[in-house]
């Protein structure tokens, strides 16, 4: 039965449980979901040891997060999981929107060429977790403890004392840093007594995974008021293994327990899929959507990430993707603080940058939910007017909001941003995530993003008349006493450059010209850029980007 076999991970006894005193761990992550796992892998890749605790012994039950964005795939690629996710995920580019009995329009995500990753793949959360657990178990710097529930925490100035319940009984351990990735119902948030403020939408949605043989294409189909589900909305989306995600809006008056019963669900699905199509239900859930966040994500040595820090409605796929970007932002900062290179205050920029990204995600997801569940007659009248005009008037399609799909945040106004010096277009300004491009390195075809992200990188276009090697040495010398590794990489059409832009795509996307320099953070976001590399400004920008007083 079922398309997926849930792995059972074994509990491995630990000497921590029998130690006389709480054993010290530098970084403890609570929650081995996509966010906790991505964070642990990122830290491990940066050479830090991590203890990851999870109360369960398997992966996510039900598909849950299914749409993984380009940015998430790029981050996971940096963590070594790109090929595995791409190999199993379902690629899709087309969305169709239906109103009552007809298709009113379709759209293409139109990914440009010249990126390693597609705009989106669909993959069940359990696969994402399984692949990440495999990688974590294989990494010598990560210890993964299943069936280990944190029941109590005592935060202090130098860390947190944790009480853990395990098959070996209850024991305590001490974490210098505690990263809470324990999901929307975070128990760590509750232990800390932190308010999770926001808005609950007065609506309920039936969410099911159905396995079936169907020749529907791998597209996102969204219905407003379809004949098979009167007055409500419906969504159909393909996942791996011929599993389809179906969301059906039920309205606020629906009884969640009653609606989960297969006797209720099957007729609804038959109405949608046709009376004679065989299918098997794999998962049924009834949700009420919420948009909420913690006021602050960092509380001293306790830092919240993912759904534990913020929750959004699923329209737009901003939950899982937002959480993965949290870890991308946090890991390099925490690693530099632990190495003693950056001041602890660098971590406050996590709060600023991901706080702004969260507000953006909440705003978009709130608006989608308001469009799908209009409140009041006027709101419904405008919604219907938009849909009625969409078939004939392309402009109206842009008002249809069945989810604004996740795009990575640009950290405009971040305290870490340095100068944007010279005549540049707005694209790739400081705070932007780096865009990928096909390049050649050491004679082989590759991708620009693979050249970025281990450490700070200075991407340098050699000035006219200067040999790449010479330009690089000069820049490396300027940044040599910063106390942290900065990779200087020359880029350009010259085959002597470290990164050869043989097709000119990077030059166009980054508006490169002889002399141009980009300082790029370990999370592949731009810190600063110049038309001419200036020694003192570059040193100051680097100091600023790691939170040092300038």
């Amino acid at each position: 039965m079922g398309s997926y076999r849930y792995p059972r991970y074994e509990y491995r006894p630990t000497s921590d449980a029998t130690a006389a005193r709480p054993v010290e761990h530098e970084t403890v992550v609570v929650g081995a979901g996509p966010v906790g796992l991505a964070f642990a892998l990122d830290m491990a890749q940066r050479g830090r040891r991590v203890l990851l605790l999870d109360e369960d012994d398997t992966v996510s039950v039900g598909s849950r997060a299914i749409c993984w964005s380009k940015r998430t795939l790029e981050i996971m690629d940096r963590l070594g999981l790109g090929d595995r996710l791409l190999g199993k995920g379902v690629l899709w580019n087309t969305g169709r929107v239906f109103f009552r009995d007809r298709e009113i329009y379709h759209f293409d995500l139109l990914p440009e060429t010249g990126h390693r990753m597609p705009a989106f793949i669909n993959l069940q959360q359990y696969y994402f977790e399984e692949f990440a657990i495999d990688a974590a178990l294989a990494h010598p710097s990560i210890e993964l403890r299943f069936r280990s529930r944190v029941t109590e925490i005592e935060p202090g100035p130098d860390g947190v004392l944790l009480t853990v319940e395990s098959p070996q009984g209850t024991y305590r351990l001490h974490a210098s840093w505690l990263i809470a990735c324990d999901g929307a119902r975070s128990s760590l948030r509750r232990h800390m007594g932190l308010a999770f403020r926001g808005k609950v939408f007065e609506d309920r949605f039936l969410i099911t995974d159905v396995q079936m043989q169907a020749d529907f294409p791998a597209e996102r189909w969204f219905w407003f008021e379809p004949p098979f589900h009167e007055g409500q909305s419906a969504l159909l989306h393909k996942q791996a293994d011929n599993v389809w995600r179906i969301d059906l809006q039920l309205g606020w008056d629906a009884d969640p327990e009653e609606e989960k019963r297969p006797e209720r669900v099957v007729p609804r699905l038959r109405a949608m899929l046709g009376e004679d199509r065989p299918f098997e239900i794999e998962w049924i859930s009834v949700y009420t959507f919420q948009c909420r966040r913690l006021e602050r994500f960092r509380h001293g040595r306790v830092i919240f990430a993912g759904d534990a820090a913020h929750q959004v409605s699923p329209f737009g796929a901003r939950g899982g993707n937002g959480g993965i970007q949290d870890t991308d932002n946090l890991a390099w900062k925490l690693a530099l603080v632990q190495e003693g290179v950056a001041p602890e205050s660098l971590l406050d920029s996590y709060d600023v940058e991901r706080g702004a990204a969260t507000d953006e995600n909440i705003l978009n997801s709130t608006r989608s939910t308001d469009f799908i569940t209009p409140k009041g007659e006027a709101s419904r009248a405008f919604r219907d007017a938009v849909l009625q005009l969409s078939e004939r008037f392309p402009f109206a399609r842009r008002f249809v909001n069945s989810g604004r799909l996740s795009v990575p945040a640009v950290y405009d106004g971040s305290p870490l941003n340095g100068p944007d010096r010279g005549d540049f277009p707005a694209a790739m300004r400081p705070g932007s995530p780096c865009t990928d491009a096909p390049v050649r390195c050491g004679g082989t075809e590759g991708w620009l993003l693979h050249q970025l992200g281990r450490e700070f990188t200075l991407l340098l276009c050699p000035p006219a008349g200067t040999e790449p090697r010479v330009a690089a040495a000069e820049a490396a010398d300027a940044l040599s006493d910063a106390g942290l590794g900065v990779a200087v990489k020359t880029i350009g059409g010259d085959p002597a450059c470290d990164i050869v832009d043989h097709r000119g795509v990077a030059t166009a996307r980054y508006a490169l010209a002889p002399g141009t320099a980009y300082l790029i953070r370990p999370d592949q976001h731009v810190a600063a850029r110049w038309r001419t590399f200036a020694r003192d400004e570059a040193r100051a920008a680097l100091a600023r980007a790691i939170g040092r007083e300038v």
Partner: protein
């Protein structure tokens, strides 16, 4: 010069505008909402300032939902 009623998008920030429009109706009853929309349409008609375009828009709006 536009040829006729535009069918392509001519304004930026549609999600912002849409949210403001819905927000402007908050707290109004059905009758008040209808009157609000009437005032808004009159203001926009004057702003468009082209009888032919306004007539075309009236016709398009009517045709999008024929009387049942």
């Amino acid at each position: 010069m536009t040829e006729g009623l535009a069918d392509d998008l001519r304004i930026e920030g549609v999600d912002d505008i849409y949210a403001e429009l819905i927000e402007a109706h908050r707290g109004l009853d059905a009758e008040q909402s209808l009157r609000f929309d009437a005032r808004l349409i009159l203001l926009l008609i004057n702003q468009i300032g082209d009888q032919r375009i306004v007539r075309e828009a009236i016709r398009a709006a009517r045709e999008a939902e024929p009387p049942s």
